[in-house]
């Protein structure tokens, strides 16, 4: 122990191990490689970009985004915002974008509702119900979505009668080959109060739900939240509507010759695309919901039953919250698929972004690089927004593990 070398040894051992050299530190190494990769990709992109510009100029093709303010000169069959042939290509872009978002948004809602219903039906103890769900899932999943769109558009909708012999409901709704014609609302300025009432009712419903939860937790008494909220949401706007003198008229469709005048016609392209994509995606969602619920360990349900919880409460409080961890990431990818699949609407002439912008606009201006770039960017942004939302939701559901 008197040897200074010996007594020094424990000290060196107890200090932090000497730092690895720059190249042996895995973190720094990774950083260097990543920086190099970014630089490499940057150079490649710049090379492609400048080369393309150079080639386009040489051939006398216009570049830049000036075309967006030039008049489009063509009509679109479904426009959610005012649009005429005199509108600009820029407006064409937004018309197409909104049409895409319309199908994607409605499709996601319908597919989710149908998908959860079928998925739960698949787990039913009723043999027939679960068999029907199984056949639905297996059939729909295995037919290409494009074919399903064509099926609805080419095979089913044409079976409907022409406008003249429409199937009509109370002379207000007419279903025919060219779509579904319904009365169009014509609002007077005072109608805005009814809209405010809807907003107010939603806020009130939210507060009632909060209060009912608070009351249940503080006194143990249950409150019929669902029915109260239903009455509030329907009742309040109705009341305001009549108090302000019913400031809403209907433009009732009427048959003039071979077509309808007035009213609002949902074009068959939208109906076919929406039906096909909702049903196709619902089949996948059903399978995801089934496997998600089945992934919850049987002991969880048993423990809940042993504590006296009824099956529906067990599903709500124990099974679904755990199943959602498995369901959400897969649900996200289904939502993304549905959104991307809306571009299949091109096949039946639905005026979505790909159709009116990456199709007609591109043909008329010839500015493929800009247009394809913008269109791809749109899908990328939509996908990122959906992913971010779902990730945020998933984080809230995540389990805390050791």
């Amino acid at each position: 122990m008197t040897d200074p070398n010996l007594s020094a040894t424990p000290q060196t051992l107890s200090t932090v191990p000497s730092k690895p050299s720059f190249w042996n530190d895995p973190q720094k190494r990774a950083l260097v490689f990543q920086v190099l990769l970014v630089i490499g990709i940057g150079i490649l992109l710049w090379f492609i970009f400048s080369n393309t510009l150079h080639n386009l100029e040489k051939r006398g093709i216009r570049t830049g985004f000036d075309f967006l303010s030039r008049p489009a000169g063509f009509g679109i069959s479904q426009t959610l915002i005012p649009y005429t042939e005199a509108s600009t290509f820029g407006r064409t872009f937004f018309v197409g974008l909104l049409n895409t978002l319309l199908v994607a948004g409605l499709g996601i809602i319908f597919a989710t509702i149908l998908g959860f219903a079928v998925g739960i039906a698949r787990l039913s103890t009723n043999w027939l119900i679960s068999r029907i769900a199984l056949v639905f899932i297996e059939t729909i999943r295995n037919i290409p979505p494009l074919l399903q769109i064509l099926f609805w558009y080419r095979a089913i909708l044409p079976l409907l009668p022409g406008p003249k012999d429409s199937m009509s409901l109370a002379e207000l709704f007419y279903l025919h080959k060219r779509g579904l014609t319904i009365p169009a609302p014509l609002t007077e300025p005072a109608f805005v109060w009814t809209l405010w009432a809807v907003l107010g009712a939603l806020v009130l419903a939210f507060l009632i739900a909060r209060w009912a939860k608070y009351r249940r937790e503080s006194t143990g008494q249950q409150f019929p939240v669902f029915w109260t909220v239903l009455v509030v949401i329907i009742g309040l706007p109705t009341l305001v509507f009549f108090l302000t003198g019913s400031p809403l008229n209907w433009d009732i469709p009427a048959l003039r010759g071979f077509n309808f005048q007035g009213g609002l016609t949902v074009i068959p392209e939208l109906t076919a695309l929406l039906l096909a994509l909702s049903i196709y995606t619902a089949a996948f969602i059903a399978e995801i919901v089934r496997s998600g619920i089945q992934s919850v360990y049987k002991g969880q349900t048993e423990a809940a039953s042993a504590l006296g919880l009824r099956p529906n409460r067990t599903l709500q409080l124990v099974v679904i919250p755990q199943a959602m961890r498995v369901i959400i990431p897969q649900l996200t990818s289904q939502y993304l698929n549905l959104t991307k699949n809306t571009s299949l609407g091109v096949a039946i002439g639905y005026p979505d972004l790909v159709n009116v912008f990456a199709g007609t606009t591109l043909n008329q201006t010839g500015q493929a690089v800009e247009i394809i770039f913008m269109t791809m960017l749109v899908y990328l942004v939509i996908s990122l927004v959906i992913s971010m939302f779902m990730n945020w939701y998933n984080k809230r559901m995540a389990l805390v593990e050791r």
Partner: protein, 255 residues
């Protein structure tokens, strides 16, 4: 803890099985099982794996359905009447081999869920009760943690507390220590011993002979779906009557 002897209105027999039979398809898993458990009695059930011990106690709270015979719990007969099943499940707590805590809820939420949704007790009161029981199983400071953050022994003690929060009159245990590492078995057994001393009616499937000797009023030996022998712990361990009991004891005692 509710002292069983204090309530005279309830029958003295807590659980009664009369000629209970059960089949899984062709397989006859319970054969004419007869058993009376008096209020406050502690019964230990042992027997080889697959002999029907779990099935028998799971029939008592209807996690499994018996096909013939009668099961009466706390004076209520178990049949297809959902009201009876609900009522019995409120009075009967169960602790599982694999704890079965709800992983998405904190320890405290695990303990409050059923009291709030089944007994409709206000949250504040449910939480106060839960903390009381967590204190008794000696983990009040883990109340805000999730089950995944606890050791096996701690999880099982939470599971016991969770059951007790429903203020059951009868507790069922299905091999509560067999999924635990040896060093954690004692903490769970100690909790169970304390519970037994408080007068709880208990049916425990366990091979922990020390526990049986300390607290059990009687030991039941099951084999092939039948109750072969029922005796006091002393008699059962020192003078087993049947060949199969002797064989079983020699196996688990490792001779």
């Amino acid at each position: 803890m509710e002292n069983a002897n204090a309530t005279n209105a309830k029958p003295e027999i807590a659980v009664s099985l009369r000629d209970v039979n059960k089949w899984y398809g062709e397989f006859h898993v319970l054969k004419n099982v007869n058993l009376d458990v008096e209020r406050g009695q502690r019964i230990v059930i042992c027997g080889p794996s697959g002999s029907g011990k779990s099935t028998m106690i799971r029939c008592i709270n209807r996690l499994e359905e018996h096909q013939a015979g009668q099961i009466i719990v706390d004076g209520i007969e178990l049949n297809n009447d959902l009201k009876n099943i609900d009522q019995i499940r409120r009075e009967v707590g169960m602790v599982f081999q694999h704890f079965n805590l709800f992983p998405h809820l904190t320890v405290l939420e695990n303990c409050c869920l059923a009291p709030m949704w089944v007994r409709k007790i206000p949250r504040k009161q449910a939480e106060a009760t839960a903390m009381e029981y967590l204190e008794r199983v000696k983990i009040p400071h883990q109340a805000k943690k999730y089950p995944g953050q606890l050791s096996g022994g701690q999880q099982q003690r939470v599971a016991i507390a969770r059951s007790l929060c429903m203020k059951p009159r009868i507790m069922l245990f299905d091999e509560p220590t067999s999924a635990l590492d040896p060093e954690m078995i004692k903490e769970v057994l100690d909790t169970m011993i304390e519970l037994a001393e408080s007068g709880m009616t208990m049916l425990c499937v366990t091979h922990e002979m020390g526990f049986a000797k300390t607290v059990a009023d009687s030991v039941i030996f099951m084999d092939a779906g039948q109750i072969i022998e029922m005796n006091t712990p002393d008699e059962f361990f020192n003078h087993p009557q049947h060949e199969r009991s002797k064989l079983f004891l020699s196996q688990i005692l490792g001779h």
